[in-house]
């Protein structure tokens, strides 16, 4: 089952069920007024949502043609956005390029940070760039949307906590990162609002590509129309279940918490990169000088994932960078 959120002027938008071909949608607001509402009452509403989805796929109803520009993030505001950094190649590469050591326990203890979650961008929303000197970068990621997770939850047995999967563009102001991390309190200004894919999928939609708490499919990232990354999202060192166990060690999470993989990253040079920082890090290491520039006003970024049959699973994140005066 694939779900989405249409903008209807409300803060949480309206819940849609998406047809298998991604071309049409059925309003599900009578079952749950928003995706958050559905997540709050998941066991109760899932049978009705699945029935709507089956009706739509069977052609028993037409649905309405889907307009990607009318979609918000699946959760336009979420209670938590917890982002991991589970692709160790990315951590090693980016830290090496800025002369910082990766933590000694990098392979044993997951890295997670708490992101801002009150304002999340939709898949076709413009990305505001207050100042090109901030070094705006994209980051292609895979995310879980969780149900209620008790404190002390373990990786083993946590599969039922994963209600939905989606993609994210975890935008980052690279040039604000070193100073913020040096101050010890983690990212803040360096992480503007994150963008999410049009659709959120129940894990069964991925078939065998969802296993071991990982999505075993390549993530396609395009910058100004050119494919720059096709890295395998299944190469996560820590699975989503392990990230969840780490996150839940000392507290519980409410339904609708979004848990991210961190930048999808591959040691295979042929797979390219899912963020500019990696391209620059490789250049730094090879030639001592980063040459690839960061995002500029007018640039476009597209992120999508297709299954083995070429089916577009999550819909496409397709954003344009726009100049935004600081303080305007």
């Amino acid at each position: 089952m694939r779900l989405a959120t249409s903008r209807d002027g409300s803060r949480d938008g309206r819940l849609l069920v998406i047809r298998r071909d991604g071309e049409a949608a059925l309003d599900a607001g009578h079952v749950a007024r928003s995706l958050q509402d559905a997540l709050d009452r998941w066991e109760e509403v899932v049978p009705s949502l699945r029935a709507l989805s089956a009706t739509l796929d069977a052609g028993d109803v037409d649905g309405v043609p889907l307009d990607p520009a009318a979609l918000a993030a699946p959760l336009p505001r979420a209670y938590e956005w917890v982002d991991g950094s589970a692709f160790l190649h990315h951590v090693r590469l980016v830290r090496r390029a800025r002369g910082a050591e990766p933590p000694a326990d990098l392979g044993d203890v997951p890295l997670l940070y708490q992101g801002g979650s009150g304002v999340l961008l939709g898949p076709t929303d413009d990305v505001p760039l207050p100042d090109p000197a901030m070094g705006l970068d994209f980051e292609g990621e895979v995310c879980c949307i969780l149900g209620d997770v008790p404190a002390g939850a373990r990786a083993a047995g946590s599969a039922p906590h994963v209600r939905l999967l989606c993609l994210a563009n975890d935008l980052t102001f690279r040039n604000l990162v070193p100073a913020e991390l040096a101050r010890g309190f983690g990212f803040f200004q360096s992480k503007p609002a994150t963008s999410f894919s049009p659709f959120a999928l129940t894990p069964d939609e991925l078939g065998p590509a969802w296993r071991d708490g990982r999505v075993h499919l390549p993530l396609t990232v395009r910058w100004n129309g050119r494919v720059v990354g096709t890295a395998d999202a299944g190469a996560m060192h820590f699975s989503f279940f392990q990230l969840l166990e780490h996150a839940a060690r000392t507290r519980a999470f409410t339904a609708g918490t979004i848990l991210g993989s961190g930048t999808v990253s591959s040691e295979d040079p042929g797979a390219g990169w899912s963020c500019i920082a990696e391209a620059r890090a490789l250049e730094m290491i090879e030639s001592g000088r980063a040459q690839t520039r960061f995002l500029a006003a007018g640039d476009t970024v597209e992120i999508e994932m297709r299954d083995g049959q070429g089916r577009d699973l999550f819909g496409r994140i397709s954003q344009r960078v726009v100049a935004a005066g600081e303080g305007s």
Copy 2:
């Protein structure tokens, strides 16, 4: 006007208006079903809520006797919990004791971290302690609950963004902090769910004690019944308005975001301390050895603030620490 949230089995609880003496409440669920709902439609609902408050204070209705144990946090789940560290004395003392340097720009750039906000504790909720070796500590703080804040908001003119004020007990596992901060991604496991005061107040309730984006009143902290802190919350180096400007530099915030002051802290030794870490830091500096222990199962922590006339403004955070097996 003072607002609170009663537990009614729902995720967000039910909105109450509190009588001036704090002894009775009036259900406001017909105006807004929850505090979040009220914050979402603030301009629209405030006149009705103020009318209910006036009716209750005038004795035109009796209200129902207030049971503090029936109260949840004003926002049992919030979209963001952004916590500052605006009392520089606290930062200097705690870092000095653990041999870490405060940032060189400590007095110029606010320290803020993104806290977990999906599960927040009520004022009388037990505090789970999975392992005494984690070094559980309390932190008495003052908080704002914000309305919608646009990206790029400035300190000047931001007073209207402050909808409500409340208190917090920002619980911290001190012994998990050094390793987490060393890894660069900020606090995560070291910050379990934060607890909040019974009441959230519109700023006018504080009269002249609310000025310059600060609450100019002492915060009283008791540990096992003994007053350990009476520091002036007005001694914030950065005002809430300055914290807000820093937070909003690269993104917007949705209504219901909670913005914290950080541990209220005073250079005056007679004012004591609002967290155990400060007591231990002073001992370390004076004698080379921290002697005051962290929280243990059975301990109680109380946090409250009274005005010049002795009126209890926010109600009392009154919590007991209970053993909780890790993974249980």
